[in-house]
């Protein structure tokens, strides 16, 4: 479960570069709920995810994961319960380490790392099995450097890494945006499969209206650091991409009206 209450994040506060990235967001995701997040550039989507993961400091508000307050918890400690996949396929894994070393690292997320061998026979077999499930024929290349793989392969492995250590929450930040269409489709399918299999509470930022409606059970639209649309259930299932785009336009148009009214007022 994720619970975000009255969240405010401001970059460079008190300077000419001050920017209110998140401006009062309240959002609760029940356990196992899968929500997609859309919004124009600078709407605060990535900042919301970064705040939940602990990468950016929260100015005001409260973040709970699984009922526990993590607002001030260091990102590395939070990682025990929060798994992430980044937009940049190169960001989620170490190019210089082998596939199995990357996976072994992720398998210990949240656990105490000691001096036991990271690649003992038992773990090797387990990791190989998980990679084989992908069907990308990577299980015979476990010793290869991660840097030799394509972006799509790395992103698929990043998803496997995210689900190795039993996280409660999965944060996906446009994780298919940098992939070619075929691979993006594969990663989307894999995402659905893994989220379901592990019962993960998932927040997925996307630029694709199609993905926003097709994936998960809830769609949230952000604008200027606030939630302007939060649809679920029948209302969502009766909606098509055109409706969503129309709403997206309306929200942005509304902003212009607001400005005018301010000027008139």
């Amino acid at each position: 479960m994720i619970s975000v209450q009255d969240l405010h994040v401001t970059f460079n506060p008190g300077t000419p570069l001050e920017r209110r990235a998140v401006n009062g967001i309240d959002l609760t995701l029940q356990e196992g709920e899968f929500a997609t997040v859309i919004g124009s550039n600078g709407a605060g989507k990535s900042t919301l995810l970064a705040a939940i993961a602990g990468d950016v400091a929260v100015e005001r508000g409260r973040i709970e994961i699984g009922g526990r307050d993590v607002t001030r918890q260091a990102p590395a400690r939070r990682a025990a319960r929060v798994a992430r996949v980044f937009q940049d396929p190169l960001a989620g894994s170490c190019a210089a380490l082998s596939i199995e070393e990357n996976l072994a690292l992720a398998a210990m997320r949240g656990a105490r790392r000691g001096l036991a061998s990271a690649l003992n026979a038992g773990r090797r077999a387990l990791l190989r099995e998980r990679v084989a499930e992908l069907g990308l024929n990577l299980e015979d290349r476990m010793g290869d450097r991660m840097g030799l793989l394509s972006g799509g392969q790395r992103q698929a492995l990043a998803l496997v890494m995210a689900t190795l250590a039993g996280a409660e929450v999965l944060l996906l930040d446009e994780h298919t945006a940098a992939l070619d269409p075929g691979m993006a489709e594969f990663v989307v399918e894999l995402t659905q499969r893994l989220v379901k299999a592990h019962g993960l509470t998932t927040l997925m930022v996307t630029h694709s209206m199609r993905q926003a409606l097709d994936l998960g059970t809830r769609t949230v639209m952000l604008h200027e650091g606030r939630i302007v649309l939060d649809i679920t259930g029948e209302r969502r299932s009766s909606m098509d991409v055109d409706d969503l785009v129309a709403m997206f336009r309306k929200v942005r148009g509304g902003e212009e009206l607001d400005d005018d009214s301010l000027r008139i007022g």
Binding site: A76, R77, A79, A91, C94, A96, A104, A106, R109, A118
Partner: protein, 294 residues
């Protein structure tokens, strides 16, 4: 080059093998350009010299030097992690401070450690010529260190350290406390350098505050030469190649200095070092270009 000169070069190369392993850990594993070694090497030498002169067991003196070196690394890491001082600058600050610290430790710029019990002394009775005993003992020590280090870097903790250096963001997202890894890595790196300093003091028979100047270049030279000779992904081989690089570097320097044709004097050492390191840096690029042309 005489046999004595050759084995002398091997001996020095093995001593600096510890430094090279430390530099490898900082530069290659942690991606932390660390000049602290210019201070922690003479610190190790000074601590060992003082301890041995005070009648300490030489192994205990080595341990003391390693702990002292680790503390130096922790100071640099503290400046970098806690206060966000640029890594290179943080290490320069520690290095400069250590010059004074080392003078304090010895109470004078240099001191002799002659006719004292060292880690090598018991092995002189084995029947081997003295100039072979020293490299043999050092080789065993450095090999043991390589094995321990390879095992460490293959552990969960070591893997986290490698990830912290290679991709800090990814490491953090996987629950690795990157700051803590920098503390541990820098402590370990400079402990190895301090140990190298302690062995140097015992085998060369003196400790000198200025003996640290250029330690980083020598360490880096060893790493680069090693990487040029053996390009590998296997950690154990990479660590071994760094030690071999250190020995090869010393032999190359000895050859350059002893070749009458080259008109070089001992005082040309730094110039020779710079040229050798530059060559080692250029070689892989030339090789890559030739490959690209083909």
């Amino acid at each position: 080059m005489s046999a004595i000169a050759f084995w002398g070069a091997v001996e020095l190369g093995l001593i600096y093998g510890f430094v090279a392993l430390g530099v490898f850990l900082a530069f290659r594993v942690l991606d932390f350009p660390d000049l602290t070694v210019d201070g922690s090497f003479p610190l190790g030498a000074a601590a060992a010299a003082v301890a041995i002169t005070a009648g300490w067991d030489p192994w205990l003196a080595c341990l003391l030097a390693a702990v002292g070196g680790a503390l130096c690394g922790l100071v640099t890491a503290f400046l970098n992690v806690r206060f966000g001082i640029l890594n290179l600058l943080a290490s320069i600050l520690t290095m400069i401070a250590l010059f004074s610290v080392n003078l304090r430790i010895m109470g004078r710029p240099n001191m002799a450690v002659l006719n004292r019990e060292t880690v090598v002394t018991p092995f002189y009775d084995l029947g081997l010529p003295d100039h072979l005993v020293r490299p043999a003992v050092l080789a065993v020590l450095v090999l043991a260190t390589v094995l321990l280090l390879a095992r460490f870097l293959a552990s969960d903790f070591g893997l986290a350290m490698r990830a912290a250096g290679a991709n800090a963001r990814m490491a953090q997202a996987n629950g690795v406390n990157v700051g803590r890894q920098i503390y541990c890595g820098m402590a370990l790196s400079n402990a190895l350098t301090g140990l190298g300093g302690a062995l140097f003091a015992q085998i060369a028979g003196f400790a000198d505050v200025t003996s640290g100047v250029g330690t980083i270049v020598v360490g880096l030279a060893a790493v680069i030469v090693g990487e040029t000779l053996f390009r590998t992904r296997i950690m154990l081989v990479a660590l071994l190649s760094v030690v071999i690089g250190s020995v090869v570097y010393r032999i190359a320097v000895q050859l350059a200095l002893s070749a009458d044709l080259l008109f070089l004097k001992a005082s040309d050492l730094n110039l020779v070092t710079a040229v050798l390191v530059t060559l080692a840096l250029i070689l892989p690029k030339l090789r890559a270009r030739r490959k690209a042309v083909q």
